[in-house]
């Protein structure tokens, strides 16, 4: 899983309602429709400017608040291929891995809007590189089970392939 994308920078405590408003779910839960409203209350121009392959670089506690999984699938539908953050809310972190979205807990403070970043998995850890300034940032290792789910592409393919959790710990 190697990623090369453009950084889109967000601050601390971006909650899932900021990613996609709960109120929007009254119309549909189809992420391909909801992506038009991604970040509408905190970054109204994001939906129009996001490009396939962009990478979010956020501060602490990304994805806090509601555990709604649509917050992950809407980001994927918008073209986001990875989220880097100083820390994640545990529910968003799980939901991301369960949908095969790469999430990397790392120090994002040096990443600026528009930076070209690459993300490379090496064993259970991700290495992030800010290409133009040759910065190397190492991510917190993923627990083995999360790595396996991520490698399968999410919890659905993981369980389909394994027929259950079995004794994978």
């Amino acid at each position: 899983m190697n990623i090369d994308g453009r950084a889109r920078v967000f601050a601390d405590d971006v909650n899932t309602d900021y990613i996609i408003s709960s109120a929007r779910k009254r119309q549909t839960i189809d992420p391909m429709v909801l992506r038009a409203f991604v970040f509408e209350s905190i970054a109204p121009d994001f939906a129009a400017t996001v490009r396939q392959g962009d990478v979010i670089a956020a501060g602490r506690n990304f994805g806090c608040g509601s555990a709604m999984e649509i917050a992950v699938t809407v980001l994927q539908a918008a073209g986001i291929q990875a989220v880097l953050a100083r820390s994640f809310s545990r529910s968003f972190y799980r939901n991301a891995i369960n949908n095969g979205l790469l999430v990397v807990e790392c120090d994002t403070t040096a990443i600026r809007e528009g930076d070209r970043v690459t993300v490379r998995m090496s064993g259970d850890s991700a290495g992030v590189r800010v290409v133009d300034r040759q910065l190397e940032i190492s991510g917190t290792p993923l627990p083995a089970i999360m790595l396996r789910i991520l490698e399968c592409g999410g919890l659905v393919p993981f369980l389909s392939a394994n027929g259950g959790f079995g004794s994978i710990v």
Binding site: E69, R90, I145, L159, S160
Partner: protein, 417 residues
């Protein structure tokens, strides 16, 4: 041999081996809860996983609480999907009007001490008040739990919160909860569990504990658990629910942090826009004009909350401030029926309040009343993110039911109670 925190012991029992903080465990779940918010996506995933039966239909239920009532054809379709799925596989559905998923769990004896409860709603942690390990998850984990009866969990480290003494007059569990969230911050308990302890527990009834467990997810907590004590036992006896398998922390249980909170030092609190950890003294916001007061949700929508709000409303003059919208959403049918029988709802309605269908109501903009542009809302809820109630230009403050009741009469945030 090491005993363990409540979380370590519950998860050890449910995975069949001794586990400690940071271990990963595959655990058998006691109760699986979905809602109309998380359920439709979980049903998609269940089918994609090849699911053809629930691991145990008697342990799975859905609550139609987020779109109550359904106000669009699409949300009607979500409900129909859940009803059809549940009928096919034998799960229980609590339909529109029955109430919020975790409130139903507590009222109907669907969770018991020592249980591992998995709910696809972040406020599932509320059930920790009854000595459960209750954790909020998304739709994938809900689907997997419905199919396999299992969930993988990293055993959390635990923060121990020691509550001491008794409340001052005018202060309640909501003030203590907000004070703790403000002190800890929005991510202090991330990946971690919280256990409550201390002599103050003798003075906290189940309603108080539900509020505290509920609010701890605003500090990121994975679970927020009370010990099973005489107050817990008395509640279960009154409900005719068996005591389950209570778990107490061992004397040698290891905590990552201990926080002490002296209740007598807590004055009425308020969370200012746009984060539940943006907490200050209520008095610091005194005089801010309020256009809408919302009484309800899984934090502030129980019988005692409406009684507190009514008492404060009466003390503040008992007449609705001109032009103010007062919206009541009982957390469940049972709460509604008690308030109906004792005259509280009627009194509020006669004063000019709107009573909506029970459920999550206006809290997350999915049903109920949506505030207008530029409105200031004072709410008994747990979240005040920008646009949370469906309008980005509204400002949401969170406070106790008493503060909200007083504000409904005054038309502004009260100085004290």
């Amino acid at each position: 041999m090491y005993g363990g925190t409540i979380s370590e012991q519950i998860l050890s029992r449910r995975c069949g081996r001794q586990v400690q903080a940071d271990d990963v465990a595959i655990c058998a779940v006691d109760r699986v809860i979905g809602t109309d918010g998380s359920g439709p996506m979980a049903i998609d995933y269940f089918e994609q996983m090849g699911g053809s039966q629930l691991f145990d239909p008697a342990r799975v239920y859905f609550s139609l609480d987020h779109y109550a009532p359904a106000t669009t054809p699409e949300t009607q379709a979500f409900h129909a999907r859940i009803r059809t799925f549940a009928a096919r596989y034998g799960a229980t559905v609590f339909d529109v009007g029955d109430g919020i998923s975790h409130q139903i769990a507590i009222e109907r004896g669907l969770v018991r001490p020592g249980d591992l409860v998995v709910g696809a709603d972040s406020h599932t942690v509320t059930c920790g008040a009854l000595n459960c390990f209750a954790v909020g998850v998304g739709s994938s984990d809900l689907a997997a739990a419905m199919l396999t009866g299992q969930i993988w969990l990293r055993v959390p480290q635990t923060i121990r919160i020691v509550l001491r003494g008794r409340y001052r007059p005018g202060v309640g569990a909501k003030d203590v909860g907000l004070a703790l969230v403000g002190r800890l911050g929005a991510d202090a308990a991330n990946y971690r569990a919280i256990e409550f302890a201390g002599d103050a527990l003798d003075g906290l009834d189940l309603d108080d504990r539900l509020v505290l467990s509920n609010l701890m997810v605003e500090a990121g907590a994975k679970a927020a658990i009370f010990p099973c004590d005489p107050a817990t036992a008395a509640y279960l006896t009154r409900r005719g629910v068996d005591r389950g398998s209570p778990i107490a922390a061992s004397a040698d249980a290891r905590y990552v942090e201990e926080v002490t909170c002296d209740l007598p030092s807590i004055a009425p609190q308020i969370a200012r826009p746009h984060s539940p950890d943006n907490v200050s003294l209520l008095a610091h916001c005194a005089g801010v004009p309020v256009h809408m007061v919302f009484l309800g949700t899984c934090t502030g929508g129980r019988v005692s909350d409406f009684h507190d709000a009514w008492a404060a409303f009466t003390r503040a003059g008992g007449r609705l401030a001109p032009g103010l919208q007062l919206v009541l959403t009982p957390a469940s049918r049972e709460v509604h029926d008690v308030l109906d029988a004792d005259g509280t709802l009627n009194a509020f309605v006669n004063a000019g309040a709107i009573v909506t269908e029970t459920g999550c109501g206006a809290c997350c903009g999915t049903s109920g009343v949506i505030p207008g542009n530029g409105m200031t809302v004072l709410s008994t809820a747990n979240r005040n993110f920008k646009a949370r109630m469906g309008r980005a230009t509204a400002s949401i403050y969170l406070a106790s039911p008493a503060a909200c009741g007083a504000a409904a009469a005054l038309g502004r945030i009260p100085e004290g109670l």
